[in-house]
């Protein structure tokens, strides 16, 4: 009888074998995912990930502690939302009016108080290791969900994480927009826009020009892995530039007023508006980076005057626009920073890094909104009873997208790695 030798599973040598699949049109990645197909029923076909860079204070936003002492409570008051029992910061009125659309997770906890490490943890769902770079959501989702040929699978506004693809390979990297969109203007996305008077006819002409001179390798170009890879992507790039689907998706002027009116002119709001267009057009993951949350000093003024109004407007607009377009069920939204902030206010009127308690928001993709999951203790210093880890949130997020977080990839050196090894699904959201 043939015993299955299960200690190594797929070997790194299979990477060599996969070269033989070039002729069939399967790329290496497709081969691997076919080889170990995981199937989880998920509602969402696209995802939006909002990174609140700097680490937003949970005590002043979604995890208010009105009964805490003066040294901890802060200046803001609570207001009720359109869901009885749920209360959030007074400076998020628009979000209060649509609290039924998203779920608040409180008492999310970890131990990494550094920006980069915390961000990596939240963006990958795995605690960072010195010798392994985990892929971020964009990379995994690009790989698992595939997508139409003429639109990028993953877009980062304005830029993505450092080394976002981890061990999965450069192929799954995001298209970085490089800038935030401006209200009422089409956006120049690097490489795909028709700027400098470039027309579609030019694109066609140039493409045939390249083909005229790119003949040095002859028929060997079909056999060789590197050359055939380059040809395949060249073709894809051409299709993407030509089809205009991407260009149109980035053109904010095409958005009907009913939707664009839901957003104000700020950078973050316009980025949210753009992200709804992108998922509508077929982009699988849009990640938006919204910075300025690292309020070590002057926390309350900064939040009150700038950060919270922008967040409120953009995020509320996002939920309402998605709902309006009928996309809320098929789009999973994940909003998070890299950690929370110290419950005790410091001497500069600010709060410092605090990973032991933070908040996350999850919405769409079939995840039930209008609920609070988990809780932090009375002072906001840690989880009250139930510990939710970033791994759990990641696993749940993936689940909504139909990605099995226990599925294994193999790093280039043959080490088997699960997408999210330690995450457990959050029952209230599946």
């Amino acid at each position: 009888m043939k015993h299955k030798l299960c200690c190594d599973g797929i070997l790194r040598r299979d990477f060599l074998k996969a070269g033989a699949l070039v002729g069939t049109g399967l790329g290496l990645s497709d081969y691997l995912s076919l080889a170990k197909a995981g199937s989880v029923a998920g509602k969402a076909k696209a995802a939006i990930y909002v990174r609140l860079a700097g680490g937003p204070s949970h005590m002043d936003t979604f995890d208010m502690k009105p009964d805490a002492s003066d040294t901890h409570r802060g200046e803001f008051k609570e207001i009720s939302t359109n869901v009885p029992g749920i209360r959030i910061s007074e400076h998020l009125p628009k979000l209060a009016r649509c609290a039924d659309k998203y779920a608040i997770l409180r008492g999310v906890s970890h131990t990494l108080a550094a920006h980069r490490l915390g961000a990596e943890y939240l963006m990958t769902g795995n605690r960072p290791l010195p010798s392994l770079k985990y892929p971020t959501y964009g990379a995994v989702i690009s790989k698992e969900l595939g997508g139409p040929r003429d639109i990028p699978r993953s877009v980062a506004i304005p830029k993505g994480a450092v080394a976002p693809t981890g061990f999965l390979g450069l192929e799954y990297g995001p298209l970085e927009t490089g800038a935030t969109p401006k209200a009422g203007q089409p956006m120049n996305i690097r490489g795909l826009s028709l700027s400098n008077g470039l027309t579609l006819a030019d694109i066609d002409r140039r493409d045939s020009l390249v083909k005229r001179y790119d003949t040095a390798f002859g028929s060997f170009a079909k056999e060789d892995k590197v050359l055939s890879g380059m040809d395949e992507f060249s073709q894809k790039a051409y299709e993407m530039m030509r089809s205009g689907r991407t260009r149109k998706a980035f053109d904010l002027t095409r958005e009907p007023a009913a939707i664009s009116g839901l957003f104000d002119d700020g950078n973050f709001s316009q980025s949210c508006l753009l992200s709804t267009r992108l998922v509508e057009a077929g982009v699988r993951l849009v990640s938006i980076q919204f910075g300025g949350w690292d309020t070590h000093r002057d926390n309350f003024n900064r939040l009150k005057d700038s950060n919270l109004p922008n967040l409120d407007d953009g995020l509320a607009g996002l939920f309402r626009a998605l709902d309006s377009k009928g996309l809320l069920n098929s789009t999973a939204v994940f909003v998070t920073g890299e950690f929370g902030r110290t419950p005790k206010i410091n001497q500069r009127g600010g709060r410092d890094h605090y990973p032991r308690a933070m908040f996350c928001l999850l919405a769409g993709g079939g995840m039930q909104g209008g609920q609070v999951i988990g809780a932090s203790d009375a002072k906001g210093e840690g989880p009250r009873d139930r510990v939710i880890s970033p791994d759990d949130v990641a696993a749940t997020f993936y689940h909504a997208l139909g990605v099995d977080h226990t599925k294994e990839y193999h790093t280039p050196t043959g080490r088997p790695v699960m997408i999210v090894r330690h995450g457990k699904l959050i029952p209230e959201l599946v």
Partner: protein, 921 residues
């Protein structure tokens, strides 16, 4: 015995297996344990645990998983005998091992499916596996791992396999040699694996079947032994005398040819001169060759021009810049990882410059490694003040001391991601040994002999190395130390630690002082010596390191008593340099080889382990030995490889070597690395003067020191986006795979239409004019020719002189009665008019009789000019002249366009988008 051997023989016949002629006649496990009457008792270590391995019980998906299965957890890859034994026998009800009713032991009931088992049937009841386990239980289920002799080696018979047809099979026999001299056939207890199933497959009892032409290895695993078995199935029938005469220039080539001969693979012929020049310029210096350089190289009739070119390239600044970049990759130079908020970008730069200087002056590789590994901050007996002042001298605004004059480079150990000893161990192993030992952190290494204990012992070397504020005893008090200096500066700017105000001012003050060469609070790399624990042993030096429970030992080596060393890193360094270190030289040689061939002799290149044998062991050994004997001379290594036939082979395949990717029978096509792509695009589109400048220094290059610094991040059209899209490594994970040379979609979009790309093509930037802009100005007449240029500057001079003269024109005297003044006026006016007349005449002559300069005249683009432009475009990008066909095409494309310069630009764009440009071939 006779009965079983007959059975075996008929089995063999039935499967058409070629029994290895050298097979030793030893009884196999199934023979020994298969019959109760034989009376064999299984050993826990030698038989039971290996059985659990081959039947998959301790595999990753089963009981070896990180949480076990069904409450039963075994060590992954089975080398923790005590732990496993306890797990198997410990059950209070003794159900896993039932000493009263052995046959009811769960360990027998489950795998035979007599009880429900999620892992299904592993072996049948009363099979030899069953009887093996039963015999062990009957004997008392003992743990004999401490009593068994040490493992010596695993012998596989035959040691290599040579097939002649696909579909043939041959059986391997595995024999274990224990240190007490005993040997056993344990084939059925050995795990076998093929490294490439498209060449050969292997089943559980070691029967290997050829599936495709080429070569690979079968790896056998038993106990602590990992034995690779080379497998060959020749690719053609050109074997023995039928193999053509191929000349081998060097020993390197002899060794490569020897392997190719056994496979019937005929190497491709030599590449052309222009292919060679482009290839070696890119590989050795990360730069494209210059058009004039290509012209003269191709035209040269010298028979030694290739080796001369190699020598010449070794002298270029770009050579040092490229290889410094690579050394910074291996050693992890990333400013974001350096723990100094004020100076981190400078430190990263200094790291680069320190290595750069040494690569340029060809300092031996081992000395460069030593400069990093054995680095010190303070010299022995040096005061903090003296040290801190010295460090600041590198930052002085006037006459700074060049950092490369420093004897050692201390920042390697200062990184934030190597703070823990295990992180240091991993980094060291990756950078200098080319070994990935992280697997052994948690379990026995699956592909090598390292156990967790080995890892811990290796890690022990690194525990005393620290990089932080250092105030040794005796420095507290009135003498300046880190804390006192920091406090003084904080008070000076009014920085309150609690309030953290004036942080900016604090940093500015620190920088200001450094710029003045004054001491600032520098952190230090230092060794922390632990004190003797026991009072009684105060005077006994042997007690010094008694605190460390684990005695360090180098990988695969003996325990080392650190009391004999002042610095615990010294034995590490000695070990690296010792003649029989199996990693230090081969790791570097392999990486260099990888740079030139796109594939290491061991591949992946930083994964040297027993289960990943080199594709040509004698080649690697020869080069490593030569490198060591040359005194770790890097230029020797480059010359040896680049002058070989193997490096200079064409990429064009023949019938025998079409599919060969691992034996260097033809040059493989590889995409250019990120920095080289970025610089190549810049070079191809830059004006002549800029290109010359780029070649003369390495300042304007992405292989310079600043590319990872955050300074450029706001500029979206800078090359940083290109670098990340083309796979420049972040240098934070211990993996050469961080650098990706894979093609991707975003790369294709970049070269087609990215704003950064278009900017380079248009080249309208006043400071760094591009080539297109340059020729545009030339042909539109805006640029003067040299003769014209000389003329125009002369004109300027004359006009200037006239202006000066006219400013000094003599004035009529106010008092007309003054006769003398009037006379003077008449004389000076005469000479003035004369001078002015002469000047005006000179100017008229210069302008060809016209009083003013003629307007810009367009220069025509004649057919000859057109060809020249086309040639230049090809030379700038593909580093060769166009073929006749291409020239004809281009004449049509460019010549046919209304704006010929725009046509040239289109051609340039097109060539930059070809695979030929982006690949090294």
């Amino acid at each position: 015995m006779k009965q079983s051997s007959t059975i075996y023989a008929s089995l063999a016949a039935a499967m058409a297996i070629i029994a290895a002629p050298q097979a030793k006649s030893l009884p196999t496990p199934s023979q020994r344990f298969g019959h109760e009457a034989n009376g064999y008792v299984a050993s826990f270590r030698k038989h039971v645990i290996p059985l659990l391995g081959v039947r998959g019980c301790n595999g990753r998906e089963c009981h070896g998983s990180f949480s076990g299965r069904g409450g039963f957890q075994l060590s992954l890859f089975g080398y923790e005998f005590d732990k496993d034994h306890e797990e198997i026998v410990r059950d209070e009800d003794e159900i896993r091992v039932n000493r009263d009713q052995p046959e009811n032991s769960l360990i027998l009931m489950k795998p035979t499916m007599q009880e429900k088992h999620k892992g299904e049937l592993r072996f049948k009841k009363n099979s030899w596996e069953y009887r093996l386990l039963l015999s062990w239980i009957l004997d008392g289920a003992k743990n004999d791992s401490k009593l068994t002799p040490e493992f010596e080696r695993l012998e596989i018979v035959p040691p290599s396999l040579r097939f002649t047809e696909s579909g043939q099979s041959q059986r391997l026999q595995a024999i274990v040699h224990w240190k007490d001299g005993s040997i056993e056939d344990i084939t059925e207890l050995t795990r076998f694996r093929s490294n490439d199933e498209s060449i050969a497959t292997v089943n559980e009892i070691g029967v290997t079947t050829a599936t495709g032409r080429g070569d690979t290895h079968i790896i056998a695993f038993y106990d602590n032994g990992i034995q690779p078995v080379p497998v060959y199935l020749p690719v053609s029938d050109k074997l023995g005398d039928a193999y053509p005469e191929v000349h081998a220039t060097s020993e390197v080539d002899q060794l490569i040819l020897a392997k190719l001969r056994t496979l019937g693979i005929v190497p491709s012929e030599k590449c052309t001169d222009d292919e060679f020049l482009r290839r070696v310029s890119l590989d050795l210096t990360g730069s494209l060759p210059l058009p004039d350089e290509i012209r003269s190289f191709v035209a040269s009739k010298s028979s030694v021009k290739r080796s001369k070119k190699i020598d010449e390239l070794l002298k270029r600044p770009a050579y040092a810049a490229w290889w410094t970049t690579k050394l910074c990759d291996y050693t992890g130079n990333n400013a974001q990882n350096l723990n100094d908020p004020v100076f981190r970008n400078d430190m990263a730069r200094q790291w680069y410059e320190w290595i750069y200087h040494r690569v340029k002056t060809n300092v031996p590789y081992d000395q460069i490694a030593e400069g990093l590994i054995m680095a010190t901050s303070r010299q022995k007996g040096e005061s903090f003040q003296h040290f801190a002042t010295g460090m600041s001298h590198y930052y002085k605004k006037e006459n700074p001391v060049p950092f490369h004059t420093r004897e050692s480079m201390p920042f390697y150990w200062s990184r934030r991601n190597v703070r823990k000893p295990e992180e240091k161990a991993l980094s060291f192993a990756h950078a200098f040994l080319g070994v990935r030992i992280q697997c052994a952190q948690c379990h026995k290494h699956p592909f090598d002999q390292w156990t967790q204990q080995d890892f811990k012992k290796f890690q022990a070397f690194f525990a005393p190395i620290q990089y932080k504020a250092n105030t040794p005893k005796g420095e507290k008090g009135s003498v300046m130390n880190y804390q006192s200096l920091m406090k003084e500066i904080e008070q000076f700017v009014g920085y309150d630690k609690k309030k953290k105000n004036n942080k900016k001012q604090l940093r500015e003050e620190i920088r200001k002082r450094a710029n003045a060469g004054k001491p600032v609070p520098w952190q230090e790399l230092h060794i922390v010596n632990t004190k003797p624990r026991s009072k009684g042993g105060k005077n006994n030096k042997k007690q010094n390191y008694s605190r460390r429970v684990i005695t360090p030992s180098v990988l695969g080596g003996e325990d080392i008593h650190l009391t004999e060393y002042d610095d615990p890193r010294q034995p590490l360094m000695d070990w690296l340099r010792s003649g029989d270190n199996p990693y230090f030289a081969p790791a570097f040689v392999n990486r260099v080889w990888h740079n030139y061939f796109g594939r290491g002799i061991v591949d992946p290149v930083d994964d040297m382990n027993l289960a990943n044998p080199p594709s040509n062991k004698s080649l690697l050994d020869h080069l490593a030995k030569g490198f060591t004997q040359s005194g770790y001379n890097m230029q020797w290594l480059h010359r040896t490889i680049l002058n070989s036939d193997a490096y200079q082979r064409s990429w064009r395949p023949n019938d025998t070597n079409r599919h060969d990717e691992r034996n260097f029978s033809r040059m493989t096509i590889r995409r250019l690395p990120a920095e080289v792509v970025a610089d190549a695009i810049t070079q191809a589109t830059a004006s002549k003067s800029r290109v010359d400048a780029m070649t003369a220094t390495s300042k304007d290059r992405t292989i310079g020191p600043d590319t990872l610094s955050k300074n450029n991040k706001k500029n979206t059209s800078s090359l940083n986006y290109a670098l990340s899209v083309f796979g420049k490594p972040d240098r934070t994970a211990n993996c050469d795979c961080e650098r990706s040379n894979e093609p991707t979609l975003l790369q294709a979009i970049f070269t087609r239409n990215d704003p950064a790309m278009n900017l380079l093509l248009d080249g309208k930037n006043r400071k760094s004019k591009g080539w297109i802009q340059e020729i545009n100005e030339w042909y539109s007449g805006k640029t003067k020719s040299t003769a014209q240029g000389a003329k125009s500057s002369q004109h300027k001079v004359l006009v200037g002189q006239r202006k000066k003269l006219m400013a000094k024109a003599p004035q009529k005297p106010a008092n007309k009665q003054n006769a003398r003044a009037l006379q003077r006026y008449r004389i000076s006016t005469k000479s003035y008019s004369q001078a002015l007349k002469e000047l005006n005449q000179k100017i008229r002559n210069l302008n060809g009789g016209q009083p003013k300069q003629p307007a810009n005249t367009r220069r025509p683009i004649t057919e000859r000019e057109l060809d020249r432009l086309i040639n230049e475009t090809f030379l700038r990008t593909l580093s060769r002249f166009p073929t006749e066909t291409e020239l004809a095409k281009a004449r049509v494309d460019v010549g046919g366009s209304i704006d010929k310069i725009a046509g040239v630009k289109d051609l340039l764009w097109a060539l930059l988008n070809t695979k030929e440009f982006l690949a090294n071939h």
